[in-house]
Amino acid sequence: MNSMNYLTISGLLIFGTGIFCSLAVLMSRPVSFLKSTWGLFGLAVGLWGEGLYLAYSANEYYRALFWLRFLNLFSIIIPVFFVHFVILFTGKSQTKAKEMTAYYVTSLIIIISSLIMPSFFIPSLSPQAGFYAYPNLGPLYYVLFLFSVYLAVYAAYLLIRFIKSAPSVLAGQGRYILLGTAVCFLGESTVFLPAFNIPVLLLSTTLVILYLSSITYAIVRYRLMDIRLAVSNTAIFIGVYALVLGIPFYLYSIGYKLIAFIQVILLATTAPFIYLYFQRKAADLLLDEQRRYQETLRQASAGMGRIKDLKKLLNMVVYVLTHVIQIEHAIVYIYDQSQKRYVIGASKKRAGKRRFIDSIEEHSPLVQFLSNNKDLIVYEEIKQKSQDDKNHGLEQIVKIVSSLEGELLVPVFNDQILIAIIVMGKKGLGKIYTEDDLGAFSILANQIALAIENCLFMQAEKDRIKKEGAQARRESLDMLVGTMAHEIDNPITIVVGEAEELQEDIKSKQGEIITADFIKGIIAACNKIKDNAWRVSKIIKAVEDYAKAESGQYKAVLINNVMIPFRSFLLLLSKKYPGIQFTQDIQLDLPPVWAEEVTIEEILFNYVENAFHAAHRHNARGEGKVSLHIFKRDDFIIIEVSDNGYGVEAKVLKQLFQVPTTTKGSAEGTGIGLYRVRQVVDRLKGQAWAESQGKAKGAKFIAQLPVYKGDASDTTKTSSQRIF
């Protein structure tokens, strides 16, 4: 009687589980042929369970016989669905299509036969192996039995072969399915055994439930990836509830009815907590490492925003993936605007050298696919789907992903535009990607997108500033060159003219007595030639000094040394802006600053040029005044440039150094000069600002640079020759 009750309960449970699993799989996304087949398998198992329940809860002989014959129909189709599932899982659907059709046709023939002549399968019921009504077997039942056994063995064979040759991730999944298959069919077969008059413990039908639930859970929750966890979760669930229901059931059967009742209440209350406790323990055990790297991923993504250099960022991404998460290789392809393709931004392989595919075309089907689906690609998943759907487009994607040797592809979007593709190889030590991993990678991708955007912005800004800096410098140089050309023309004309004159004079004196006056004339001409030649050389030297780019190599610089070449600029400025009265007051014993000579020149030149411009434009000739005052105050060197020019309004004063702003006419300046000064001064850890009483009231521009307190012998010696 007890075993009868057990069959009824397990039948009902199998029915419920089967229907539930079937619906869960069929309703989950993305849809695939593999899942549909599993869904049908679950449905068939469920209906088989229903037959079991109804047969053993029936109180009439014929009703029991009817339901046993009913469940028998599903015994025929269940192995067929299962073999189909295994064929799809092992990727043999194309080669075994005809075979599969043959199985379906055979099962259909057997089903029809059992409907037409049910007595050839189960003619009657009689007590067997302890059951009061168990099927007696007709001759065709053996055909059905052999067919089922063949399919079960065949499925196992396919799985074993697959496990041997498949990549580690899939092999792991294959092993679980094989194990499950063994458990499931063992469970199911126990129902057969009493029919052959073999007494067995029917508890094993419960294993069907375990198997069905765990694979379904793996498919739905983990995309058939981490079956270990799915199996453990289901096992814990069943274990706990078997305890909850089993102990009171046992107590009830031996007569402790009240205790059983109290037990039910107590255990039913505590069971969820016990389940959660064990589930958490199992997850901790199985996912310990995984959680650790997910935490690392989270930390890494948080730190990414701080990286300003794209190359560094991408290197960090591949480093984290390969060294922390231990993915065998990782590549980041980043969109290159100029090449119109995705090129390798960073790549890393944990061991050995490997050449990866250099780039991915902008119009590649893979890029289209990622752009349209906006989801990551799991290689095995799309491979499966392409086989299921026989979709040529998808096959192309599979080929590309395979050529990239990617197990997982994570797209990185910015404003709906695919800016990067992260290609990940296998996880180390044969571990598999879980749904949680995919979630973590999706978050990581978003963080990377933001970080990349940040880097690109910083890079663009850096380039822009560099370009503008170069432009400002170029403008100054253009001005210098223009003035210089004029300055050079005159001495050259003198040099050439004097030399010609000298030549003529010497020729005309041939054969004549050379007088003292003549010699004096020659010496005077030679001096003129020499002086003017030097003048040219010095002007060129001054411009050459200014044209030197900033090298970033700082040293202790004495401002007084910088003033020597600066005088040549002053001369050029006085030519460009005639009539300006320039005065300077430079403290003689100024300590050095930690800088580069060109950076100091840049500050001086921009300030002084601005002052000359302002004073020249605002004053009639002779009234424009510019003064340069350099002195030490506390631990700073102060550079002050004042003018009596057009002044600066208070509201503009604040913006002057912040963004490119100009108080000159738009045709005369870009306003980059002061912006550049601020950048330079910032780098020297100083401060730059301007003061003005307002429009038409002149202005004072100040730069404050910290005094260098290191070894003063670092100071560079500039040439002692005086230029002008």
Binding site: A485, D489, I492, G497, E501, P578, R621
Partner: protein, 132 residues
Amino acid sequence: MHENTLKVLVVDDEEGILDLTQRILRHKCGYDTVGTTDGEEAVKLFVEHSPDICILDVHLDDSVLSGIDVLREVRKIAPNAQCIMITRITEEHTIKQSKELGAAAYLLKPLDTKEWLDVVKELADGILKGRP
């Protein structure tokens, strides 16, 4: 000095060039010369000396009047005055202005002595031919 000796006014803000140009004109051509670095002074000298030819630098630093201003004034005083403009400025505007104001030649620096001297001699020949 010979009656027919030509007189040349040289205006250049660079003392060295001013001196050299005058020396060449005196020694090689035997002309009389007057010179200055300032535009206003140049106009005064023109009125005072009535030179036959003026050699004017367009750009005059520290001078209120530029070479073009001097040309304008000179042509006002003597509409037939022969003026040679010497400069490195290639601006169309300056060239056009010089032409409109009646400059005889517009020479670009840097110049070879022979080049500008040939132009001066050419002008001088014309002037001498026109004399009785």
